[in-house]
Symmetry: C2
């Protein structure tokens, strides 16, 4: 096979697997993404080994995640998010502290020294907004208060996780913690978010008339997509997750009068690209590394710990909303994402953790991702009934 044939074959396998997985999941009344992640597990290296995550596939997966969060931002509005700012901050902060404490306790108990234990605990922290946002979107509850709190908390959570990673990396490398540097990084990130949210909204409200006389029916769409790529890149440059930038771009674009059109035109693009994100995520689960019973036990243990950490921390933060909503927020924050995987990869490359611990952490991150969506849809469907 020449290179082009190979690249298209990879795309085809991933895309087709996603369609089959989504179809099966929806017939079982589960969110489509659960089927897509499961399909990824099956075609990934640990089962069928039909697909390897090459650079082009990784890029499509990243693009899928970015566009997904853009569309989530588009269905929200800054005013509504600001209303839940207090609760979201509380949820975000407690949702970082509790898993971090539980994670480091487990790592200490497993025999790691304190610097290593703190490093490992960092993998317990960061919520993946992408997965939960998609579940909430599929269930049509993005405009509910608990959804807004989850999305706001995910932004806070991401800032804190980035900060934490800086601290534990510094401790690990034995160097003194450069507080000034960390404060600058933190300041930049917060300034970026506030600036974009504030200035962007005002500019967008004014520029709306310009977009009203477009040169072609997709001018508003392509302009917003350029904005989305720009803010995703800026966020990534500042050390935040790219999807946070995309989410902000969506929030801003939602202030224009073209919101409805944008939302409609975005749907087919999402239908094409988002599945790549979930299948690639699923394909990274190394089931082979988990074949031993003792490893499975350890995995069950740390996954439970990771779930309890977010349930407790975030549930506590959202307690004022009532038990039901607190439970939804807690479960909604359970899926771990990119940051957990990045921490584990960093640790493995630096020789801080061995292959077994690496596989455990990656599997934990992905299990939280697989477990949360069905739980969330169960709780929400009961509420509806």
């Amino acid at each position: 096979m020449n290179h082009e044939t190979e690249v298209f074959f990879g795309l085809l396998v991933v895309f087709a697997a996603a369609q089959i997985g989504a179809e099966v999941a929806q017939r079982l009344r589960l969110p489509a993404l659960v089927g897509e992640i499961a399909a990824g597990c099956v075609i990934g290296p640990s089962v069928l080994d039909w697909v390897h995550v090459t650079e082009p596939l990784e890029m499509l997966s990243g693009l899928g995640a970015v566009l997904l969060l853009f569309s989530v931002g588009l269905e929200n509005c800054i005013g509504d998010l600001r209303k839940v700012g207090g609760s979201a901050t509380l949820v975000g902060v407690l949702g970082v502290i509790v898993p971090f404490v539980l994670g480091s306790a487990w790592a200490k108990w497993s025999g790691f020294d304190t610097p290593k234990a703190l490093f490992i605990a960092a993998a317990f922290v960061a919520t993946s907004a992408g997965v939960t946002a998609r579940v909430l979107q599929e269930l049509g509850v993005l405009d509910r208060t608990f959804s807004r709190i989850i999305l706001g908390a995910a932004v806070i959570d991401d800032i804190l996780a980035m900060l934490l990673l800086g601290v534990v990396s510094a401790i690990q490398s034995g160097g003194a913690i450069d507080v000034t540097h960390l404060l600058i990084v933190l300041g930049q990130a917060i300034a970026f978010i506030i600036l974009i949210a504030w200035a962007g909204t005002h500019i967008m409200r004014r520029s709306s008339p310009i977009l009203d006389a477009p040169i072609n029916p997709f001018s508003a769409l392509t302009l917003s997509l350029a904005l989305c790529l720009a803010l995703a890149d800026a966020a990534s440059y500042l050390g935040l997750a790219a999807i946070i930038g995309a989410f902000l771009a969506g929030l801003i674009a939602a202030e224009t009068r073209q919101r409805e059109t944008l939302s409609l035109q975005l749907q087919p693009i999402l239908a094409f690209l988002v599945p790549f994100f979930f299948v690639v995520t699923g394909s990274q689960v190394d089931l082979a590394g988990l074949s031993e019973l003792s490893t499975l036990g350890a995995l069950a243990g740390i996954t439970l710990l990771a779930v309890i950490g977010k349930l407790l921390g975030c549930g506590l933060g959202a307690w004022s909303l009532g038990r039901k909503s607190a439970l939804i927020v807690g479960v909604g924050m359970v899926p771990r994402g990119d940051v957990g995987i990045i921490v584990a990869s960093l640790g493995q490359h630096a020789g801080i953790i061995n292959n077994e611990t690496y596989t455990l952490l990656i599997a934990m991150v992905l299990l939280t991702t697989v477990v949360a969506p069905p739980l969330l849809s169960l709780i929400l469907s009961r509420e509806a009934a």
Copy 2:
């Protein structure tokens, strides 16, 4: 910059440049793709050097071309194409012979020995259906007879070019031409096209009722996209251009009752991905290599030869349609594409041609691509007036 930041930055630069280029071109009443290709030249290595064609970008560019030809197929139908089969074959065959003869004459005259001259001439042959199809699409004339002849001829042209490349490569490597192997390759390609066109159409007409009860509003879209990827990959596997497979997939999908819906839902995806194809194409023009006057003269010469070759060959083939349509078909077949670039690259790697000839051939291919669209829209707008 970390890797993610860099990848998104590349996407952003290409996408933003495309929007600006398209806007400028449309204000000058030129097809948007002319502006996109020009924008690619400007941000490419030879001027601003803002973008390098990495693997992810190349993949998005390929995906853009594939989806574009899928949409062109969707706007056609096999029955109408079959009606122009005879003329299209004549245009395709003459459009390969005349440029090949002119190209080898030029190469002989330039001092290359016969095997090398035949190899170089192969770069003069293959039409890029993508560029012309987009121009015809933008001008809204895809349903005219000359458009159908151009599209049909492009398929024939692609088969012949593939065959020719096999022959000249064999001559070049000094080996005997393996006629059996060539016939097998040719037979496979033709069988593939006929099988897909015939069986696909019949299956699609039957499966339409299944698609009528979809599980979600994008089932028909995602199924067609999977079909498009599958046929593009199959075509590439058989040595044809991937876009020929995508075109066939579009033709088949056009037979379903969801044609209108598909066409509508595809538009935003095209608006997002097709610009990557044209900008990446433009970014490959190495203007720096063409700074010397003698080189510029040679370039003007071979480009003229390449244009005249197609005008004569294809125009002659379409003569029965009248002078006007013959001219449109001739100009429409002028843009050279991937195959020309592939031949030049093969020749350079194998040491058959030197860097200067390589740059000349690449520049010729791209110039034909830049020259044809404005000419075509000029001729067509006069016709409308």
